[in-house]
C-alpha cells in the first residue's frame, strides 16, 4: 500500500493561520499551527468544540485554504495546486471518514466503495472484486447490496472506511468518526482502524474529543483556541 511509503512526512503544516469572518468580525480559528504527520501515524487531534479541530483537518485535507502559512502533502505545496489538481490529490492520496458517514444515498455499500475507484479509472471488474474484498475484510460483506438507509450507523461508518481506504491513500482523515455511534460500536470501529493501521500501515489522523479515540491514539495533539497546546506520544 502507498501508506507504507518510506517518505518521512506525509503532511507538513507550517505556521498555518485561519481567519474566518463572522458578520465582518475576524475570528481566528487557527493561530500558527505547525504539524507533521509521518507514515504509520495513528494520531488524534483533540480539544473542545470550537478549538479548530475540524478546520485543521479540512486544511490538511485540502478542502479549505489557510489564510497564512503553508501546507505540504507528500512534499507538494498544496497552495500551488489548481482546484482540479487538488481534487485529484484528494482522490489519490487522502481518504475521508466523516462524522455523518456521508455515503451516497443512491448507491449500495458496494457501489459506494467502488465509486472512488471508478473516479480513478479502475476498470469495473477489478474495482468490484476489490470492493467486495474490502467489505469482507471490514466484516460487512453481506451488506454489499444494501443502500445506506438500510444500514445502521456503525455499518455505514464501516462502508465509509472501506470507501476511504479503497484507493490506498497515503492518509485517512477521520473527522469525529465515532460521534454518532454508541460506545460499543465505536470501540469495534476503532479496533478496526487500529488493525488497518497496524496490519496495512494506513496512516490515520482523527479529530475527536471522544475519550475512547483519545485513549487508542498513538499520538495526541490537543488544540485550544486555535493553537496546539499539547503534542505527545500517547502511552
Amino acid at each position: 500500500m502507498d501508506g507504507k511509503n518510506t517518505n518521512t512526512e506525509i503532511v507538513r503544516v507550517e505556521n498555518v493561520r485561519k481567519v474566518y469572518h463572522d458578520n465582518g468580525v475576524p475570528v481566528d480559528a487557527l493561530r500558527g499551527i505547525n504539524l507533521t504527520v509521518s507514515p504509520g501515524d495513528f494520531s488524534v487531534i483533540a480539544g473542545p468544540s470550537g478549538s479548530g479541530k475540524t478546520t485543521l483537518l479540512n486544511i490538511v485535507g485540502t478542502l479549505d485554504k489557510p489564510t497564512e502559512g503553508k501546507v505540504y502533502l507528500d512534499g507538494e505545496d498544496v497552495a500551488s495546486k489548481t482546484r482540479r489538481e487538488l481534487a485529484d490529490m484528494r482522490l489519490r492520496k487522502i481518504g475521508f471518514v466523516f462524522q455523518a458517514y456521508n455515503l451516497n444515498p443512491v448507491l449500495s455499500a458496494l457501489e459506494n466503495v467502488e465509486f472512488t475507484m471508478m473516479l480513478r479509472g479502475i476498470d469495473a471488474g477489478k474495482r468490484k472484486r476489490k470492493s467486495l474484498a474490502l467489505l469482507e475484510e471490514l466484516g460487512i460483506g453481506e451488506l454489499a447490496n444494501k443502500r445506506p438507509n438500510e444500514m445502521s450507523g456503525g455499518q455505514q461508518q464501516r462502508v465509509a472506511i472501506a470507501r476511504a481506504i479503497s484507493n490506498e491513500p497515503r492518509l485517512v482523515l477521520a473527522d469525529e468518526p465515532t460521534a454518532n455511534l454508541d460506545s460499543e460500536t465505536a470501540v469495534k470501529l476503532l479496533e478496526l482502524m487500529e488493525r488497518l493501521n497496524h496490519e496495512d500501515g494506513i496512516t490515520f489522523v482523527f479529530s475527536s474529543h471522544d475519550p475512547q479515540v483519545i485513549e487508542r491514539a498513538h499520538r495526541l495533539l490537543i488544540l485550544k483556541d486555535g493553537q496546539i497546546v499539547t503534542d505527545k506520544v500517547n502511552k
Binding site: 481534487a87 482522490l91 451516497n104 443512491v106
Partner: protein
C-alpha cells in the same frame, strides 16, 4: 457509473421528476401536433386548390398566365395534343376553355369565371364533382350548367332553373347562352364557389364563337412526385409559343406560405425550447441545492468538477429523453386516429372555407417535425441544466459539506 447515479438521482424524487417529464411531454405534444395540424392545413389548402381547379401541370399559349383572356387561348391545339399523347403516359389529361363573364338570372347577376369542360375527363383531374350537393355533375349535354350554392343563392335560382351566361367573344361581340342548372356544388373554398361556373366545352366554344380553341390543358401525373419531370419533358417537346406551368408557378402564394412555414416554425420551436429550458433550470436548480451537501462530499472524496457537471447534465438528458419519448407516444396516440378521421372543425367552417381549407383538417406528421423534436427537446433539457451544474461546481467543498 455516472449514468447509473444520474438515473437513481432522478428516481429519488419521483414526484418532481414526474412533473418535469409530464411538462416536457406536454411541450412535445404541443410541438408535434401543432406542427402536424399546421402542415396538414397548409398542404390541404394546396392540394385543395390543385384538386379544385389548377391541377398539377397546365399547358397554355405563351402569355396566358399573365393575361388569361380568350384571345390568349390556343387556336391550333394539334401540336399540344401530339406532344401530350406521347409525354403523358400514367397521367390524366383534360382541357378547358375559360373566360370571364356574367351569369344572370331574372333577379341578379354575378361576375364569374365560365369554364367549358369535357366532363368525363375533368372528373379525373379535378374534384368539383365530389362536392355536388344537389343535382348532378355535368354529363356533357349542351346547355347544361353547374353553379355553386352560393351563386344560386345570390341569383335566387335553383336546380332546373335557367340562367344566362354572357362573355366577350374573340371579335369583341358579346356571346350569350341560356343554360339550365343541373347541379349545385359547394366546395371547401367559398371564394372559389362564388367565382366559378361550369358548362360543357361544346357550349363554351359555341357561345364564344371559338371552335376548337382551348385555354388550358391540365395534366395530372398519377404519381404526383413526377410533376416536375413530366412538365420538363412536355416543355422540351413543345414548339415555341407555349408555356408549361406546374402548380408551384400557378399557386405561388400557397407554395411560398409552405416554404415560409418551414422557416418560421423554428420560432415556434424556440418558444417551446425556451419555456422548457426555464422549467429545467428551475427544477435542476432545486435538485442541485438540495444536494449541496452531497456535492461537497463528492468533491472531498476527489470527484472532479467535470464529472459533477456531466452527472447533472446526464440527469437532465435522461429527463429530456424520457419526456420526449412519453410526449411522442401521446402525440402518436392522438395523431394516428386524427390523421385517418380528420379533425372536424365545423364550428370554424366559415373562416376555414374563406381560406380554402375545408372543415376537416387531416394532420400531416413530417419527418422533419419528429427529427426536430427528438433533437431540440433533449438538447433544451441539457441546456437548461448547464446553469444549475455550473452552480454545483462552483461550490466550495467545505461550505458544501456544512450544508444540511
Amino acid at each position: 457509473m455516472i449514468g447509473k447515479i444520474a438515473w437513481r438521482n432522478i428516481l429519488r424524487n419521483k414526484r418532481r421528476s414526474l412533473i418535469l417529464i409530464v411538462s416536457i411531454a406536454i411541450g412535445v405534444v404541443a410541438m408535434v401536433l401543432t406542427d402536424a395540424v399546421s402542415i396538414g392545413m397548409m398542404r390541404q389548402m394546396l392540394t385543395n386548390q390543385i384538386g379544385a381547379d389548377a391541377g398539377y401541370i397546365q399547358v397554355h399559349k405563351k402569355g396566358y398566365q399573365a393575361d388569361p383572356a380568350l384571345k390568349n387561348s390556343i387556336a391550333d391545339t394539334a401540336p399540344v395534343r401530339s406532344v401530350l399523347s406521347t409525354d403523358t403516359a400514367s397521367c390524366e389529361v383534360s382541357e378547358r376553355l375559360r373566360t370571364f363573364g356574367l351569369v344572370s338570372s331574372a333577379y341578379n347577376s354575378s361576375g364569374v369565371s365560365i369554364v367549358g369542360i369535357l366532363p368525363q375527363k375533368e372528373r379525373k383531374v379535378t374534384t368539383v364533382h365530389n362536392y355536388m350537393v344537389e343535382g348532378t355533375y355535368l354529363s356533357g349535354n349542351p346547355g347544361d350548367i353547374i353553379i355553386s350554392t352560393a351563386t344560386a343563392e345570390k341569383l335566387r335560382v335553383g336546380l332546373g332553373d335557367k340562367v344566362v351566361i354572357m362573355a366577350s367573344r374573340l371579335d369583341g361581340s358579346v356571346g350569350s347562352e341560356a343554360c339550365r342548372i343541373v347541379g349545385l356544388f359547394e366546395t371547401f373554398d367559398s371564394g372559389f364557389d362564388q367565382t366559378h361556373v361550369y358548362i360543357p366545352m361544346q357550349t363554351a366554344q359555341q357561345m364564344l364563337d371559338a371552335p376548337g380553341r382551348v385555354s388550358e390543358f391540365v395534366v395530372n401525373p398519377t404519381d404526383t412526385k413526377r410533376t416536375e419531370t413530366v412538365a420538363a419533358q412536355i416543355e422540351s417537346d413543345l414548339p415555341a409559343g407555349f408555356e408549361v406551368l406546374t402548380y408551384k408557378q400557378m399557386l405561388p402564394i400557397l407554395v411560398m406560405q409552405l416554404q415560409l412555414y418551414d422557416q418560421t416554425i423554428y420560432i415556434f420551436y424556440a418558444i417551446i425550447a425556451i419555456a422548457l429550458i426555464f422549467g429545467i433550470v428551475n427544477t435542476m436548480l432545486m435538485a442541485v441545492m438540495e444536494r449541496t451537501h452531497e456535492f461537497g462530499v463528492d468533491m472531498a472524496i476527489g470527484m472532479a468538477n467535470r464529472r459533477i457537471f456531466t452527472m447533472i447534465l446526464t440527469e437532465a438528458l435522461y429527463l429530456g429523453v424520457i419526456g420526449t419519448a412519453a410526449g411522442l407516444v401521446v402525440s402518436f396516440a392522438i395523431f394516428i386516429p386524427l390523421s385517418h378521421s380528420g379533425w372536424n372543425l365545423a364550428m370554424f367552417s366559415e373562416s376555414l372555407k374563406s381560406v380554402g381549407v375545408g372543415t376537416t383538417i387531416y394532420p400531416v406528421l413530417a419527418a422533419s417535425s419528429l427529427i426536430n423534436t427528438i433533437l431540440i427537446i433533449p438538447l433544451s433539457a441539457v441546456i437548461g441544466a448547464v446553469y444549475p451544474a455550473l452552480r454545483a461546481i462552483k461550490l466550495q467543498p467545505v461550505e458544501a459539506i456544512r450544508a444540511s
